[in-house]
Symmetry: C2
DNA sequence: GAATTAAAAATTGTATGCAATATGCAATCA
DNA sequence: TGATTGCATATTGCATACAATTTTTAATTC
């Protein structure tokens, strides 16, 4: 049966604007703490206030926005305390993903991860950060996919969206980058042998190390100094080329 | 400074109706699959459609409701597959809570949990199920509190809210009840010695056993046979006295 | 010039209205 | 009798209106 014969997919305005706004926040379009006035957003998106307000409520319940009665929406900040809360939870979730992935991964999926890994390592060797982080993220996403637990994926995605909003000026140093690559090497090995317990431990450690990197950057006041959009990923902090 | 001098707490209609409706769903007021027409809910709560619609959107993003364009809100169902997804995630989160609690718990908190535990055991010896489950839940909540990670608590609470909506006819058998009590004994011991790793393992096992109980009840078609509100808790399935 | 007050403007929360869509029921056809 | 069609009714999505609250600006006082 062709695609033409299936049901016609529909998306409400509310769903569309929720997704759009979420992406914009996660991508750093609005810095932490910034006000999001309804009227401005309605003009930006060309819609009425009703679906926009519904979207704001949903994003607030996801932790991306802060709402207080009569005070409008504000992009939630990210403090070192927030980071200290988020990373252990994400670590636990990613460790579970690792265990489940080892139990459920197909040979094809494993080969895909391996291919991504070696491309990523090549970029590290060449010192190419943007493609490195891209591949790095893909690997983590593939592991979550291989876990085949949508509830887990949703929970993890929601939390990681909050982290990706942070902004920093500093790249991690070469030592930490090399360490991250080594951790990825261990991860691949554990996946290869389908050793779920081991992969879980590696992922937890990996996340702990990332937590320290993020906090160090926060402590350096990097968030306030940053003027450009920056994206955090696992093993490095990417500064887009202007 | 007295309470009178602090800021005046305000709650929007939206927040109030969201919380009310969430509680009603979690408590089983609306069976899985049931339609929640806007007009009916507006009459029930005595409010206009706007804050109600906003609440529906939030509860949908929490997984308690299902929304599709032009089809209104439906209470989300809970299948064996859902249960298979939820419990490992909850297990991972509760294991993390156990680790963090062992690192952070005060002597006072530990004494509180111990007191709750022994009361609970007494109810088990007397075969008193309602108070047993109440205390049981309090113990789990105390452990989460002792973990001092609001993000973790929020994530766990959201997931556990979905499970509490299930309904069943069967009580667990005496063997499983005794097993659950034994697991709680182990939990208290691990807490006492502040052995986070051990507590994490016990909690994971505890959740796995609970998962099997829930699935068995689901498989028995208990959900459809149930006519009265029933609440699942850890170690038994409580049928309220009519 | 700083502090205070009042007024104007902007923003937010909620209610209501209108159009589009879905559902239910009755009539018609094969 | 079952299937199809048409119409009426109900429900949902979104826009708009109104009132309440907050913020900003201007005027006044010390």
């Amino acid at each position: 049966m062709s695609q033409l014969a299936g049901p016609i997919a529909r998306q409400s305005l509310h769903d569309a604007v929720t997704a759009r706004l979420r992406d914009m926040i996660v991508e750093g379009e609005y810095p932490p703490g910034s006000r999001l006035p309804e009227r401005v957003l309605c003009e930006t998106f060309g819609i009425s206030r009703t679906p926009l307000r519904e979207a704001l409520k949903v994003l607030a319940s996801e932790g991306l926005l802060e709402l207080a009665p009569n005070r409008g929406a504000r992009v939630a900040g990210l403090t070192a305390d927030d980071v200290d809360e988020l990373f252990p939870v994400m670590g636990a979730l990613e460790a579970l993903a690792g265990e489940l992935a080892c139990a459920r991964i197909t040979d094809t999926e494993l080969a895909e991860i391996r291919a991504l890994h070696y491309q990523m390592v090549l970029h590290h060797k060449r010192g190419e950060r943007p493609p490195y982080f891209d591949l790095n993220q893909q690997i983590h996403e593939k592991i979550l996919e291989a876990a085949r637990n949508p509830t887990l994926t949703a929970s993890y995605t929601n939390l990681s969206g909050r982290i990706r909003r942070a902004r920093y000026t500093a790249n991690i140093d070469a030592a930490r980058w090399a360490q991250a690559v080594a951790e990825h090497e261990e991860m691949l090995e554990a996946l290869d042998t389908r050793d779920g317990g081991r992969l879980a431990e590696i992922l937890k450690r990996h996340l702990r190390n990332k937590c320290e990197t993020v906090k160090a950057a926060l402590a350096a006041g990097a968030e306030e100094a940053a003027k450009d959009k920056m994206v955090i990923t696992d093993d490095k902090i990417f500064i887009p080329t202007p």
